[in-house]
Symmetry: C2
Subunit: 346 residues, 2 copies
Amino acid sequence: MSENEKKHREIDALGEFGLIETLTKGAVLKNPSSILGVGDDAAEIELSANESILVSSDMLVEGVHFNLSYVPLKSLGFKAVSVNVSDIFAMNGKPEQITVSLGISSKFPVEALEELYKGIHAACAFYNVDLVGGDTVSSYSGLILSVNVIGRVSKKKITYRAGAKENDLVLVTGDIGSSYLGLQILEREKGVFLENPNIQPKLEGYDELIKKQIQPIARQDIIDLFQELDVVPSSMIDISDGLASEALHLAKSSDCSISLYSDKLPITEKLIVTAEELNLDPYMCAMNGGEDYELLFTIGQKDYAKIKNHPSFSVIGFVTDKSQDSLLIDKNNSAVKISAQGWKHF
Amino acid sequence: MSENEKKHREIDALGEFGLIETLTKGAVLKNPSSILGVGDDAAEIELSANESILVSSDMLVEGVHFNLSYVPLKSLGFKAVSVNVSDIFAMNGKPEQITVSLGISSKFPVEALEELYKGIHAACAFYNVDLVGGDTVSSYSGLILSVNVIGRVSKKKITYRAGAKENDLVLVTGDIGSSYLGLQILEREKGVFLENPNIQPKLEGYDELIKKQIQPIARQDIIDLFQELDVVPSSMIDISDGLASEALHLAKSSDCSISLYSDKLPITEKLIVTAEELNLDPYMCAMNGGEDYELLFTIGQKDYAKIKNHPSFSVIGFVTDKSQDSLLIDKNNSAVKISAQGWKHF
């Protein structure tokens, strides 16, 4: 192994979160308006005695986060916005503005960029956010989308990753794992197409999975629902890297552990059937799939009555003392330690 | 010419600003907190009755905006922050937070990223801004830096590109053109090195030009000086794309024209000598060079006494009615129409 190869390994060994920790450890918050920096879904900035500004940024790179051979540009524009506003919802806030910076290679005709922006404008209308700025630069190497979102939240309602307490219930919105299986189907059909361009891709019947991958909808509705039900979660995170990884983030930030029940995980019939077809374990897809953009949150037991049996939520586990491991418990009551095997882009 | 080539031409024909106009024309501001969107140095968001939030984003792409063969990573980190906070200064505001999103290829060892972040942290300390978030993703194709800055400004002091009135004076801070010549020197020496790696680059004597290119300092001091001198410019913009291009932006936004005097342009002795050495016209370098990150602004004549003879400012022209062209007037009183030949990254 050469010296260079050794060095390359280091980023792999650190992983994305280790890398972020290494690079941002020098970041000290000095401005009185900086309330919360790196380490949650969004940063928090002082607005007034009652309200905070939330800020979050995400970058999407062609070939890493999306593949233009099967993602329509309009869907990509919509998704880039969804991924970002999801971080504001994860703080129980409302997004209000976005900026979009774009790196584009000259192979892009203006018409293609207009398609991309149709998706961005459609998402702005859907989430009621305004596109207020950005940058447009040339890139030698495919499309790069960097979106920054600004939102607001009442200080009474702001929900951090930290805040889960022992015996709190762990809940998740919607269903999980579909987005990952949607991606597997798209990859499979792309492989078939590359081998024989005369074979039409078989995508019929997988619509719900593919839609969740190509154009996920961030859970704006849940923030309204919390308001309606008069619930403020004790902690919350959005599921971008997979349930296992996000549950561990929540536990670490809250200085506790989390136990989840595999038979309580909200997975669809379609997910089970498709996972079998692809020789994948459906629970593995649900735990480690990623890109669901559902919300994972905890509530105190006193709030259980408010949320019980609501079709948008599934109670999937509970918060334990940090002396215990975070566990996935199956229906036979046998437990395995949860480990993060989420998206690794390095 | 093929159909594809025709389409590629369209982006070139539109140019960066035409492209931005085309893509963002669908952007309507609907949130009451969105005061100003695309079209100035930063977007403006409601904070309170007396203050606004300012937001701006810039993307830097390897091979387009910087060349790692001669830009030290620490300087690049510092510059990425400077370029962004400069947009907040251009609104007469103070930056307070930044987020940094990073696309990196696996060829980067962690040590190199730490160098980059040393520069980012140093700039944060210098400009008194806090690094509060961002994203770190993999890129197959070199380094991508997307910085987003958030600042504050009193509504009494906020300065837009629009606002210049006929007979206002046009001023610029510092000196202009140096950054462009610094880049020419670096490119020349890189060419020499590529032809014969045994020849050491000749960079001595060009330090001030190279420093202005590699690590420009955004004019935070000027915002303090305006406060001290009790001056609020009638319009302002920072010089990233070259004086000619920025003067035309200011004129267009303010619905007026601008006349500049070539013999009033603040160019250094070193610039004149080096331009001659490279067979370049020093006035051309000053007008079209770009990346100076100085401030171009206008003031009402009533404020002239406050600013007169201050070493940080040069009065370089005046605002005229829009029925006239924007002109560059030489010492013999002959005038040429100003045209933008700034950086074209497409």
